[in-house]
Every structure is written in C-alpha cells, then in structure tokens.
Symmetry: C2
Subunit: 106 residues, 2 copies
C-alpha cells in the first residue's frame, strides 16, 4: 500500500495564497489546500475532470461564469476543459480530486 | 456546474455500519462515509483505483494483508484489483475517491 501523511508531505505554494499538498495515485490526484482569506484563483482550465470540496471556510467558485459560494460539505463537479476561477471569502481548507492524475504536480 | 450538498444527498447503508453519500463525476466518484465504531469492512476488491482518507476517528485499513491505522490527514492509495478490508476503531468520518466512477452506486 502507498501510505501518505499530510504532515510529512511538502507544501507547495502553487499560486499566491494557495498552498497544496498532493497525494497521487495512478489515475487520480488529491490536492489538499490551505488558502489565505481573500486569495484569488485566476480563471483557468485543464483537461482533468475535477471535483472541488470545502473542508473549512467559505470559498467562491466561479465555473463557466456561474458563481457559487461553497461551505463545508458542499462539492462541485467541474468537467474537463471548463474554465473556472475562485476566491477565498475566508481562510479555507479545500480538497480537489482530479482525473487523470496531475502529472504536472508530481 | 454540478453543485452537490451532502446534507441533501440520501445516505445509503452499503454494508452494516457503513453509511455513504456519493458525489459522482464522469470518471471519478467521491464517497463520504460515516462509520459506526467497531464496524467491520469485509475483504473485497474492485477494478477501481481508490484513495482512502480519514476525516475523523481512527480506522484500521488492511491492504493486501498489511495493516495500517489511519488517522485524520492520512491517506492510502489502493491500486485496482488489490484486496482490502477494514475496521473502525472509533466512530469515523472517511472519504474515498474512486476511478473510474462507481457506476454500481449511481
């Protein structure tokens, strides 16, 4: 088995205010984020399907121009190639799931 | 966007003591579990790759005969077809990620 402990995974600041720890499988990547209050995620897209989830805080996610405020226990499925952006309304802990794996972050 | 709120997703007791709420994408399924203390997960396997994660509690995961006690912030990657079993040491909240999607639970 491949065991991972977030405490021992190096944090990477992917964009300003967005720090991630990644767990990679063969075909799935899990990204655990800590996000500073107010930090903005510029619009982007990728060929990976994504499911975005909030563990703590409030996060505004804008998918293809539609805004949704996400709180803990809420999830959004973002299909491949669909542009999305976001903003941390508060300090947030988020996690994203990607398929295929994010080899750009291995 | 496909927005999901766990509070409005029907809970399914998949095996005794294991209640799940599923969020399905096209190629990924997320399963959020509430597990009763002491509940046992019989050994099984499937063609889906899986990443198991603990949000709350202590869970013993046995992958291909190797036991690991998982706590919050710890994850295990279970490759496709590898047999695994488990037991909730305490009440647990877990989440699993699967690829391909769990069409058997749609």
């Amino acid at each position: 088995m491949q065991f991972h402990d977030l405490k021992t995974i190096a944090e990477q600041e992917i964009i300003p205010g967005y720090k991630a720890r990644f767990v990679h499988g063969e075909n799935i990547t899990l990204a655990f984020w800590e996000v500073e209050s107010g930090a903005e995620l510029p619009e982007h897209d990728h060929h990976h399907e994504q499911i975005a989830n909030v563990l703590e805080g409030k996060f505004e996610l804008i998918v293809d121009g539609n805004s949704q405020i996400l709180e803990p226990g809420q999830s959004v499925v973002i299909p491949a190639h669909v542009p999305h952006a976001g903003k941390a309304i508060t300090y947030c802990r988020l996690f994203d799931v990607f398929h295929p794996s994010r080899d750009d972050y291995r």
